[in-house]
Amino acid sequence: MTATPVLVLLDHAADGTLRPPVRELLTLARTVADGAPVHGVWAGTADVAPALPVLAAQGVAAVHRLVADADPHLSSVVADGLGQLLDATGAGLLLLVSSFESKEVAARLAVRTGAGVVTDADGLEVVDGRLVALKTVLAGTWSTRCAITTPVALVTVKANAVPAADAPAPTEPAVVDVPVQVSATSRRVQLVERTERPASGRPDLGSAHVVVVGGRGTEGDFSPVEDLADALGGAVGATRVATDEGWIGHDAQIGQTGVTVAPRLYVGAGVSGAVHHRGGMQASGTIVAVNADADAPIFEIADYGIVGDLFTVLPQAAAEVRRLRAQG
């Protein structure tokens, strides 16, 4: 790779705080930038100030704040701004977190700029001057290495792909406003309404290091699942059955059509391990399964399986984790 800047789209909450995977993206960006500057891109009307200490610690050279006279939540408007920035900075790589919104932005940019795109990467390397993305496919059962053969590369990176680390030397990132030329295409879609989901007090499901999941076996009682999640400082997820039954919100659904997770630790309680669910969690670091049915398919992929009643096993585990933690 030539020493062109790397751009990182800075995913953030409405209050201006960066979402946790952004630090991982910036760390990865520095690794592949090999000394070239890493630039952040800020889309939306939120105040950038709360993010600046993290960006400084990550060694970010500059933050480009997209300013548009159109709704900044529309992926087309974000793509308008990023397209301009790719041209203006000569950047060869844009990293985005792997969210549905990012994939919309990447798809638009790929068509507009001719860039190659890899989604859901779990690693990125430079080999013989070429960018190579690592990706787990087919429901977590295969690993691939994929070179991007175009001058500009767009990569969406899964949460927990790399451990975040601060830069050796902090920076004082300059914040630069970028007036976006909003395309006629962008103006045809209208955002009628947008409601931010309230924060749960637990980590975000998509980026949590620990996820505890309840399935059919909970019979609608998620309290042991929540208890263990809280003891482990993790997020709560659910299977399709549990969300369809209305036991928990649809946004908790893990699977190929729900949230895809790859935490360091996944605990499935009363989860059978249907193929749709496995597609959303099989790339997890360590898999623990608790199920009364010894024939549940999830045991085939579990590092630690317990054939037992989740209503006794989970509270006992939560209590023991708290006891061991208190001991230090």
Partner: protein, 264 residues
């Protein structure tokens, strides 16, 4: 109202799916099927066509047996099917596939105006979710992805979708024609009944090539792909696996194991 539904033929996710040495999904295992998430797209299109006196055309790009995917669409109630079949399409990435589909939609639109293009939210093989938005860009139409609810106002000539994102829910609206993708929350796909299956046998499947569509083969397939798979390998099996039957202390033992593994 004329609606085109783009569908994909994929290996059945219940089957033992594999990648070949070229990094492509092995498609000759004989258990391919209509991408399950595209059944929601066909259902959404059929429902809209029933509400607004319309017609549904199912469209696919793929090898010989991909015709099975559009046949399923015909059995569900689509009136017409189009299969883009060309060796030069093989190896297309999401943008390449979108390029071929966009050309096919333009071809259909030239014959008779297309009001709406509907797709599923993702293909259960590649799962990139890039196609619907890329298709909208290529057609220079508004794209409204991930509809959990979808309504069309024929008088106003608009389409409106409600969608759930990771951190927010949104309502988007745009003038027709437009491209919409639907999620598996949008509806419950109908099963083809006997009548539908028999009727489908009489319905036309038009086969088109890249030449018919005026697509330069260099822009699609392996030739036009912007990424190249260098290596593909099954993930190694997990080692040191533990399976215990709870005899009263499994929760305590799990906690100790998590500490030992430095996961707590």
């Amino acid at each position: 109202m004329r609606i085109v539904v783009c569908v994909k033929f994929v290996p059945d996710i219940q089957s033992d799916r594999q990648l070949g040495p070229d990094g492509r999904v092995v498609r000759d295992l004989g258990d391919g099927t209509l991408n399950e998430l595209d059944e929601n797209a066909v259902e959404a299109a059929l429902t809209l066509a029933e509400e607004h006196d319309g017609e549904v055309v199912v469209l696919t790009v793929g090898p010989d047996d991909a015709v099975d995917a559009v046949r399923k669409g015909l059995q569900m109630g689509a009136a017409q099917a189009v299969h883009v079949l060309d060796d030069d399409v093989a190896g297309s990435d999401a943008i390449g596939t979108a390029t071929v589909l966009a050309a096919a939609v333009r071809h259909l639109h030239a014959a008779e105006p297309v009001d709406l293009v509907v797709t599923g939210m993702a293909g259960l093989d590649g799962l990139t979710s890039l196609l619907p938005t890329a298709l909208g860009e290529l057609l220079d139409l508004p794209s409204l992805p991930l509809a959990a609810r979808l309504t069309v106002d024929p008088a106003a000539g608009t389409v409106t979708v409600e969608r759930q994102l990771d951190h927010a829910s949104e309502t988007l609206t745009a003038p027709l024609p437009a491209v919409v993708s639907v999620t598996d929350q949008a509806n419950a796909p109908r099963y083809p009944n006997f009548k539908g299956i028999m009727a489908a046998k009489k319905k036309p499947v038009t086969t088109l090539t890249l030449a018919d569509l005026g697509v330069d083969p260099a822009t699609v397939g392996t030739a036009g792909a912007r990424t190249q798979v260098l290596a593909a390998a099954p993930r190694p099996p997990r080692e040191d696996r533990v399976l215990v039957q709870d005899t009263g202390d499994a929760g305590t033992r799990l906690a100790a194991w998590l500490v030992e593994q430095k996961l707590v």
